[in-house]
C-alpha cells in the first residue's frame, strides 16, 4: 500500500501544473468563454510541442508512452485550472480507442497526427435520449458496395467545430439486443453532408450538434469489429468515468483551497467566518469528501494501470466525483456569501462545469446501478471461512 507518487509521476504533475498556471490563468479561462472557438490554438500548439498530447501514445507513434496514472494526474491538473481544450476528446475519447482497437494502418495514420501535430478529434455518441445507453444510438449507417452512408444527428459532440476527425457511433443493424448492431466509424469532418452548430452550454467548452446527411464513409474507416462497437463505447466509457472523475477531483481540490482561504480572511462579528462552527464543520466535511474522492480515483486508476481494471471502482470514483464536485461548488459559493454569486470570484467558474462534468462519464444513478451489478456476484469473506 503506497499513497505516494513515483518520481516521474510527480514530474508530470508538476510540469502540467506549472504549464497551466502560466498559460491558463483564470483571466484566460474567462476570455475563452467569450471566444466561439472555446480553446486557445496557441496554447494547444504548446501543449502539443511539450508532448502532452502524446502522453499516453506509444513511442512508435510519436508519443511518450506514459501510463494511465500519468494521464489521470494530468486530468487532475486540467480540472484544477479549468483548462478549456479539446484534450479530452482527442486523447481519451478517440486516441485511446484508436490505440486499443485500431488496425495497424489506422494507428500508423492517425496516432502520430495526434501526438506530433495536435490534430483534434471528437467523439460523436450522444443523441436524443442522452443517457449513455445503447438505445440512444439511432444514427443509421447503411452499406452500399464498399461505402457506408450515415444519416442522423449527434448531440453534445465536444469541440466538433474544431475537429479534424469524428469517431461516430452508428447503428448498422437493428436487433433484439440494443447493444448489438453498433459500429464505430472514423469520419473526416470535411466530408460532404456534415453540419455543425454550437449548443449554448454553461461551461462553453464547445459542445455541438452535428448533423449527418448522406455522409459517405469508406468501409476501411470502421474502427474495431463491425456490429460489435458497443464494446468500444464501453471501453471509452470506463476510461471516461475515471478520467472525468480525476478532472473533477482536481477541480474540487482547487475550489476547496479557494474557500478554505477565504474563510480565514473574511471577517464578520469581528472574527474570521472560519472560526464559526457551522462554517468550519462544513469545511471539514468537504475536506473529507475531497480526500476520499482523490484516493478513490487514484485507486481506480492504479487498477487500470496494473492491468486489472475494476468496474466497481471505476463507478465508485465517478459516482463520488458527481456528489463531491457539486457539493464543493454549491457550498463553495454559499460560504463566500453574495460575492461568491458574482462573476468576479473564481469559485463560480468551477460550478459552470458541474453539469457537463457530471454527464460525461456517467451520472450518479447509472454508476450506482453498475456498482450494484458488481455486488451481485460479490462473495463475502465470512461465507468463505468454513
Amino acid at each position: 500500500m503506497d499513497f505516494a507518487l513515483e518520481k516521474d509521476q510527480e514530474l508530470i504533475k508538476k510540469s502540467a501544473r506549472e504549464f497551466f498556471e502560466k498559460e491558463c490563468p483564470k483571466d484566460k479561462v474567462r476570455e475563452l468563454r467569450e471566444d466561439p472557438k472555446g480553446y486557445d490554438p496557441n496554447m494547444w500548439k504548446k501543449m502539443t510541442s511539450l508532448g502532452f498530447l502524446g502522453l499516453i501514445i506509444p513511442e512508435q507513434y510519436g508519443g511518450t508512452e506514459g501510463e494511465f496514472i500519468d494521464l489521470m494526474l494530468f486530468m487532475e491538473e486540467i480540472g484544477r485550472n479549468l483548462v478549456p481544450s479539446p484534450f479530452f476528446s482527442t486523447v481519451v475519447l478517440c486516441g485511446m480507442p484508436l490505440m486499443e482497437f485500431g488496425t495497424n494502418e489506422q494507428k500508423d495514420t492517425f496516432l502520430p497526427e495526434i501526438a506530433e501535430k495536435g490534430k483534434i478529434w471528437s467523439f460523436a455518441q450522444t443523441e436524443q435520449l442522452a443517457n449513455h445507453e445503447p438505445e440512444d444510438i439511432k444514427l443509421k449507417a447503411t452499406l452500399d458496395n464498399d461505402e457506408y452512408t450515415l444519416n442522423g444527428t449527434k448531440l453534445f459532440v465536444p469541440y466538433a467545430s474544431a475537429a479534424k476527425y469524428f469517431l461516430v457511433v452508428a447503428r448498422t443493424s437493428e436487433g433484439e439486443n440494443p447493444e448489438e448492431g453498433i459500429t464505430l466509424f472514423i469520419v473526416d469532418s470535411k466530408t460532404d453532408g456534415i453540419e455543425t452548430e454550437i449548443i449554448p452550454t454553461t461551461a462553453r467548452d464547445v459542445r455541438c450538434e452535428v448533423k449527418f446527411t448522406n455522409v459517405k464513409v469508406p468501409k476501411k474507416n470502421i474502427l474495431g469489429e463491425p456490429e460489435n462497437g458497443w464494446k468500444i463505447v464501453d471501453y471509452v466509457f470506463q476510461n471516461t468515468a475515471v478520467l472525468k472523475a480525476a478532472e473533477m477531483s482536481g477541480g474540487a481540490q482547487a475550489a476547496f483551497s479557494i474557500v478554505n482561504k477565504y474563510a480565514k480572511e473574511r471577517k464578520q462579528f469581528d472574527k474570521p467566518i472560519g472560526s464559526l462552527q457551522a462554517v468550519q464543520f462544513k469545511l471539514v466535511d468537504l475536506l473529507t469528501d475531497i480526500d476520499e474522492l482523490k484516493y478513490l480515483v487514484h485507486e481506480a486508476a492504479w487498477n487500470i494501470n496494473a492491468g486489472s481494471p475494476s468496474r466497481k471502482l471505476n463507478s465508485m470514483a465517478k459516482a463520488k466525483a458527481n456528489a463531491v464536485y457539486h457539493d464543493m461548488c454549491y457550498h463553495g459559493i454559499f460560504l463566500h456569501g453574495a460575492i461568491g454569486w458574482t462573476e468576479e470570484m473564481d469559485i463560480g467558474l468551477y460550478h459552470l462545469r458541474t453539469r457537463s462534468l457530471e454527464f460525461e462519464g456517467g451520472g450518479t444513478d447509472i454508476h450506482m446501478e453498475k456498482i450494484a451489478k458488481e455486488l451481485e456476484s460479490y462473495q463475502p469473506d465470512f461465507l468463505n471461512l468454513k
Partner: protein, 398 residues
C-alpha cells in the same frame, strides 16, 4: 502508488482467519461492547487475549523488549481490519491496556512502572486489564476542566472526586486516571497529572450505569480519600495535559477496526437481502451501492492515515477525520439496515438468539451502540474541531 497489500500482509491475513476458524464458534459475530456487558463474553474475551498473546499478536506493534514484535504499520492495519471483521474480542485489555496504557508507559513511565505493569498486559492476564478515567460529570468535551483532585501527602497522593462513564471499570484491575494536582493555575490545562490507581484501593466505589438499552458498559466512580503511592504518578506532576493528548491520539486511531466491522455488517446485510430476495429492487440496490462506495472511500482514508504513520509523517488530524467519518458511516449503515429488516429491527438487542432474530442481531445492536461510539473518545464534533484547527488551520471556534 500502490493499492494492494504485500504478500507478507496477505499471508498474515490468512493466518488470522485460520485462528478465527480454530478458536471461534461457527457463525460467531462479536458485537461491540459485548465484553463489557456480558460475563460469558468477558471470559471468552480473556481466553482469546491469552491466545493472542501466545501468538504474539496482542501487542505486536510494541517493541520486542516489551513483549511485542515491532510489527509494521501494515501488519497492524491487517490485524485491525480482521479483528473488526471477525469481531475478535479481548484485543484491547480493557480500555485500553494495549492501545495507550502500555505505549504511554513506554514513553513517560519509570522503569519500575514499566516492569510492573507492561508484562501483564502483553501476557493477556486478568492483571493487565485497565480502565481509563478521564470524564467527569462537569467535564466531558471540555476535558481540561476536570476537578478530581490528588493532594500530595508525604510519599502518597490522596485523591477525592468523581469520574463518570468509565467503561470497563467493573472488569479492570487498574485505572489510568487523569486528575488535578494544582488548582491554583491560570490556565485549566496546567496542573493536571496522570496516575495509576489500584482498583482494589480503599475509598474507591464503582457503581454501574446502565445505558438506555439496558446494557452495562460504563460506570461512575467515587474517590473518597483514596491513597496511592507517589510513585504511581506517571510522568511529570502538573504536566499531564501533553501526555494526555498523546494518549488520546492513540485512542482515536480506531478507524481501521471500524473498517472491518462496517464491512462485516455490510456483508451480512447483503447476504440477507439476497436471501429474502429483495436485492433486485432498484431502491435496495442503490443503497447497497452507496454504502459500498462509502466503505471503500472511508477505508482508503484510514489506509492513508496509516501510510503517513508508516512513512514517519506527522499524523495529527487524520485519525480525527476518520473517527468522525466512521461515526457518520455507522449510523448510515444502521439506518439502511434497520429499514431493510423492517419489523424485525425492533427486536431487543439484549436478546440476540431468538428465533425472530435476523442478521445475527447485528443491525439492531449497532443501531443503538453506534450513538455511544459517536460520543465516546471525543464526540464527532470534537473530532471535527480538531480537523478544522489542525487539518485546515482555521482559527479556533471556541
Amino acid at each position: 502508488m500502490e493499492f494492494q497489500f504485500g504478500e507478507k500482509e496477505e499471508k498474515f491475513r490468512s493466518e488470522i482467519r485460520e485462528f478465527v476458524k480454530d478458536n471461534f464458534p461457527p457463525d460467531y459475530f462479536g458485537h461491540l461492547f459485548d465484553e463489557e456487558m456480558d460475563d460469558d463474553a468477558w471470559d471468552f474475551a480473556m481466553s482469546i487475549s491469552k491466545k493472542l498473546s501466545q501468538k504474539k499478536w496482542l501487542t505486536m506493534s510494541w517493541p520486542e523488549e516489551y513483549g511485542g514484535t515491532g510489527a509494521s504499520t501494515w501488519e497492524r492495519v491487517v490485524f485491525g481490519e480482521e479483528a473488526g471483521y471477525w469481531g475478535i474480542p479481548g484485543i484491547s485489555m480493557g480500555i485500553s491496556g494495549t492501545a495507550w496504557v502500555g505505549p504511554s508507559l513506554m514513553l513517560f513511565g519509570t522503569k519500575e512502572q514499566q516492569d510492573k505493569y507492561i508484562p501483564s498486559i502483553a501476557a493477556g492476564e486478568p492483571d493487565g486489564v485497565w480502565c481509563t478515567a478521564y470524564s467527569e460529570p462537569d467535564s466531558g468535551s471540555d476535558l481540561a476542566s476536570l476537578q478530581t483532585f490528588a493532594q500530595k501527602e508525604g510519599d502518597e497522593y490522596v485523591i477525592n472526586g468523581q469520574k463518570v462513564w468509565t467503561s470497563c471499570a467493573h472488569r479492570a484491575r487498574w485505572m489510568w486516571l487523569a486528575c488535578r494536582t494544582n488548582a491554583e493555575v491560570t490556565k485549566k490545562h496546567h496542573g493536571l497529572s496522570l496516575f495509576i490507581v489500584d482498583m482494589k484501593s480503599k475509598g474507591l466505589t464503582v457503581n454501574p450505569i446502565k445505558n438506555f438499552v439496558g446494557g452495562h458498559v460504563f460506570n461512575e466512580i467515587f474517590f473518597k480519600d483514596v491513597r496511592v503511592p507517589a510513585n504511581n504518578l506517571v510522568g511529570e506532576e502538573n504536566k499531564g495535559w501533553a501526555q494526555l493528548m498523546t494518549a488520546l491520539s492513540f485512542e482515536r486511531g480506531v478507524a481501521i477496526t471500524f473498517c472491518g466491522r462496517a464491512r462485516r455488517i455490510f456483508d451480512e446485510l447483503l447476504c440477507y437481502a439476497k436471501e429474502i430476495d429483495i436485492f433486485y429492487k432498484p431502491e435496495i440496490r442503490q443503497k447497497f451501492a452507496d454504502l459500498a462506495m462509502d466503505l471503500e472511500a472511508a477505508k482508503l482514508l484510514a489506509y492513508e492515515a496509516a501510510w503517513k504513520d508508516h512513512m514517519g509523517m506527522t499524523v495529527i488530524h487524520e485519525p480525527s477525520r476518520d473517527k468522525a467519518n466512521f461515526d457518520i458511516l455507522l449510523e448510515k449503515l444502521t439506518r439502511i439496515g434497520t429499514n431493510m429488516l423492517g419489523a424485525f429491527s425492533q427486536l431487543d438487542p439484549l436478546n440476540k438468539d431468538t428465533r425472530w432474530t435476523r442478521v445475527k442481531g447485528a443491525v439492531e445492536h449497532l443501531y443503538y451502540y453506534c450513538i455511544g461510539m459517536a460520543i465516546a473518545a471525543g464526540t464527532t464534533f470534537t473530532q471535527k474541531t480538531i480537523v478544522g484547527q489542525f487539518g485546515l488551520q482555521q482559527p479556533k471556534s471556541y
